[in-house]
């Protein structure tokens, strides 16, 4: 039930502009609410005088059953003037499919964007039953204000049982706003998701720098929401024979709802360049590389192996690398097939950001370096010298192999 305190209301019309459903208007100098109000809460927190309140109560078992379906937010990135779902959406679809099957419910994927949205059928091939498309010219780029409004409105209408976001920078600024607005439990950066016998989502995540794992439930609130760590869940080949539908969700957005203004953007990574978040092979440099000049060697090894270069916080702070290539708690969480740590001692903040890599090789001169605790292969020695020889040997080997292969 939405309540408007007419003594407090000043008739400023902010609620009218922000309501995603056009359900509130100012008449007779005070705000008035209509029947199409979904109680999404957009107006409640934006009212400057606190005149709007929504009575919320805890839900009963019976009401919990009204919520159905596993939903995923498909974060997109721009490539060649089109908006494509990020790689982690496939990971979310793969895990979301398992949850939906266990619950015997549908899997829906929610995509926001403008007319540059790419063909989305691949999302069905990766496991979705339904694609919910939210198209609006003000959704051309991510803003917390616009995306919070649309997703909150969609949740209020669709009433899913589970809603998952990627634990990316955008996912982690968006999900908590939705959680606050709709009074929902939210678990951050999950590495494990399953359904228990009561049909509840068990959300497992590391805490205390990965020293401990916690399993968390949201018993009274629906949807159960979580952000999911990238590169933890695997996904298989797309199944093009899968059937699904695409539906459009009507978006109501006004420019006044977006309160942030971008003044300038500096691009440090080309859109064609593979981000370290998505890379399969990463060669990562630490302070043990001694100088910026030596990073050429690290880049060379990355190139030889078909991977990308990254680095520790220490060398980003020395300005040897841009922050877009920083691995760790204050940088990016990576999960490649192969991670080679060169001269990185492995502070816990670094380990948090890379320990989900499938294979880890560490080269460091200190045998007690903590990086060796997570490594599959550790070499105690002069990292630069070893890398130098390694590159030479790999090159020689390539040179020998290529003519042989071309003959066959």
């Amino acid at each position: 039930m939405l309540k408007i305190d007419i003594d407090k209301c000043t008739g400023c019309k902010i609620c009218e502009k922000i309501c995603p459903f056009g359900a509130i208007f100012v008449g007779d100098k005070v705000a008035q609410v209509q029947d199409n109000c979904t109680l999404c809460g957009a107006c409640e927190n934006s009212c400057p005088v606190g005149a709007i309140s929504i009575e919320r109560r805890q839900i009963s078992e019976k009401e919990l059953r009204l919520f159905s379906g596993v939903f995923i937010w498909s974060e997109c990135e721009v490539k060649e003037e089109k908006l494509f779902p990020k790689k982690l959406v496939k990971e979310l679809l793969s895990q979301g499919r398992k949850l939906a099957d266990k619950l015997d419910q549908e899997l829906s994927v929610v995509v926001l964007g403008d007319r540059r949205l790419a063909k989305l059928e691949t999302l069905i091939a990766y496991g979705a039953d339904r694609i919910i498309r939210c198209k609006h010219k003000l959704l051309d780029r991510f803003t917390t204000d616009s995306f919070t409004n649309v997703i909150s409105a969609l949740i209020s209408k669709e009433k899913p049982s589970v809603f998952l976001f990627g634990a990316t920078p955008h996912g982690r600024e968006l999900a908590p706003r939705v959680a606050a607005r709709l009074h929902l439990g939210l678990t951050a950066d999950c590495t494990g998701l399953e359904i228990n016998d009561n049909g509840e989502l068990i959300q497992t995540r590391p805490a205390f720098g990965g020293n401990i794992m916690a399993s968390i439930v949201s018993p009274y609130t629906r949807p159960q929401m979580a952000t999911v760590r990238p590169n933890v869940f695997s996904f298989g080949e797309p199944d093009n024979s899968r059937k699904g539908e695409i539906v459009d969700f009507k978006v109501v957005l006004s420019p006044a709802a977006i309160r942030t203004k971008v003044v300038a953007i500096e691009r440090l990574r080309d859109e064609r360049e593979v981000s370290i978040e998505d890379a399969d092979i990463i060669v990562s440099a630490g302070r043990g590389c001694e100088s910026k000049e030596n990073l050429k060697l690290i880049q060379e090894l990355a190139d030889t192996l078909g991977g990308v270069m990254a680095g520790s916080r220490a060398i980003v702070e020395l300005d040897w690398l841009p922050h877009t290539k920083q691995v760790g708690q204050s940088g990016i969480t990576v999960g490649p097939q192969l991670y080679i740590a060169v001269g990185i001692s492995g502070a816990i903040q670094h380990l948090v950001g890379m320990s989900s890599a499938k294979t880890i090789i560490a080269i460091n001169k200190d045998p007690d370096a903590p990086i060796f605790k997570v490594a599959d292969l550790g070499i105690v020695g002069d990292a630069l010298e070893i890398i130098h020889i390694l590159i030479r040997k790999l090159r020689k080997q390539r040179a020998r192999e290529i003519p042989l292969r071309s003959q066959s």
Binding site: N45, P48, T148, T168, P169, E173, P176, R177, A179, A180, G185, L186, A188, D189, A207, F208, G209, N211, A214, S215, V217, S218, R259, T260, V262, V263, A264, I265, E266, R267, R269, E277, I281, L305, P322, H323, T324, S330, I332, Q337, L338, I348, Q349, T359, I361, I363, P367, K373, V374, G378, I379, V380, G381, D382, E385, I386, I389, L390, K393, L394
Partner: protein, 265 residues
């Protein structure tokens, strides 16, 4: 101008160990510190006061009585006065209940704030959720992952340089708003003896649940939509194969062997 800075006291996680029998954290002997990202938030606030003058810096924290130590650190760094929300009724709050309580306290006591600055995340929980939840409860815009803040248009606008996945961008808001910071100017590490003495003269107010007009079922564990059902130690990775690399030729050979065995070359 008034800047409220939300801070948290955290254990020095580098020293946290797990009791192998019970699977719980051993907190004894582990130092408590001001969360490093919160320290950046304070530094950014102080830098704004230095550059623009006439700004009051008010750190606020929620925690047990010993969390006063983290606020003392803020006062020693140069903050003007501090508030600690401390009550057994707050215990067990998840991010939602924490943000709800903080929002209520800020609205009740510091409702005329211009900016809220928070650290990107706390190093113990790593959720990064309280900031955006707080911004939503206060109905204000947010800018996350800031690394630099400036005031423009005669302090009527706030400009934040923030780190994004493809590089960086400059975003502007009209106050009031919330900014989370992932880096600070790192101007100081220790406070002078005089600063420590001065800090003792500053106001550190302790606020309890009864000072805030808030329903009991919105507080603490009862007010938290999430519940922890199990805590357990992470899976231990198999033992590392450690190779002596004093002879680099041999080490490089072994590396190649390993890469080939795992199909990387």
């Amino acid at each position: 101008m008034k800047i409220v800075i939300c801070v948290k006291q955290v254990p020095e996680i580098t020293d946290v160990k797990i009791n192998p029998e019970t699977g719980t954290l051993i907190r004894e002997g582990v130092a408590s510190i001001l969360n490093p990202f919160c320290e950046y938030a304070i530094e950014i606030g102080l830098a704004l006061r230095r550059d623009y003058g006439d700004i009051e810096i008010v750190p606020i924290s929620m925690g047990p009585p010993q969390a006063k130590a983290a606020l003392m650190r803020c006062l020693e760094m140069g903050a003007d006065r501090a508030i600690l929300l401390s009550d057994r009724k707050f215990a067990g709050s998840d991010t939602w209940a924490t943000a709800r309580t903080m929002a209520k306290a800020i609205k009740t006591m510091e409702g005329d704030f211009d900016l809220i600055i928070v650290g990107k995340q706390a190093i113990d929980g790593d959720t990064a959720q309280v900031g955006p939840e707080l911004a939503e409860f206060l109905g204000i815009p947010q800018i996350m992952y800031g690394v630099g803040v400036e005031l423009t248009h005669n302090k009527k606008r706030v400009r934040v340089t923030r780190e994004i996945e493809i590089g960086s961008e400059i975003v502007e808001i009209k106050p009031p708003g919330l900014i989370s910071v992932s880096k600070g100017p790192m101007i100081r590490s220790v406070s002078s003896f005089q600063e420590i003495l001065d800090a003792r003269e500053k106001e550190l107010r302790v606020v309890t649940a009864s000072d805030l007009n808030i329903e009991e079922d919105e507080l603490g564990l009862k007010g938290s939509p999430t519940q922890v059902v199990k805590v357990f130690p992470p899976q231990v990775k198999k033992k590392v194969e450690l190779i002596d690399g004093t002879e680099p030729q041999g080490a490089a050979e072994k590396l190649i062997g390993f890469l080939r065995e795992r199909d990387f070359i």
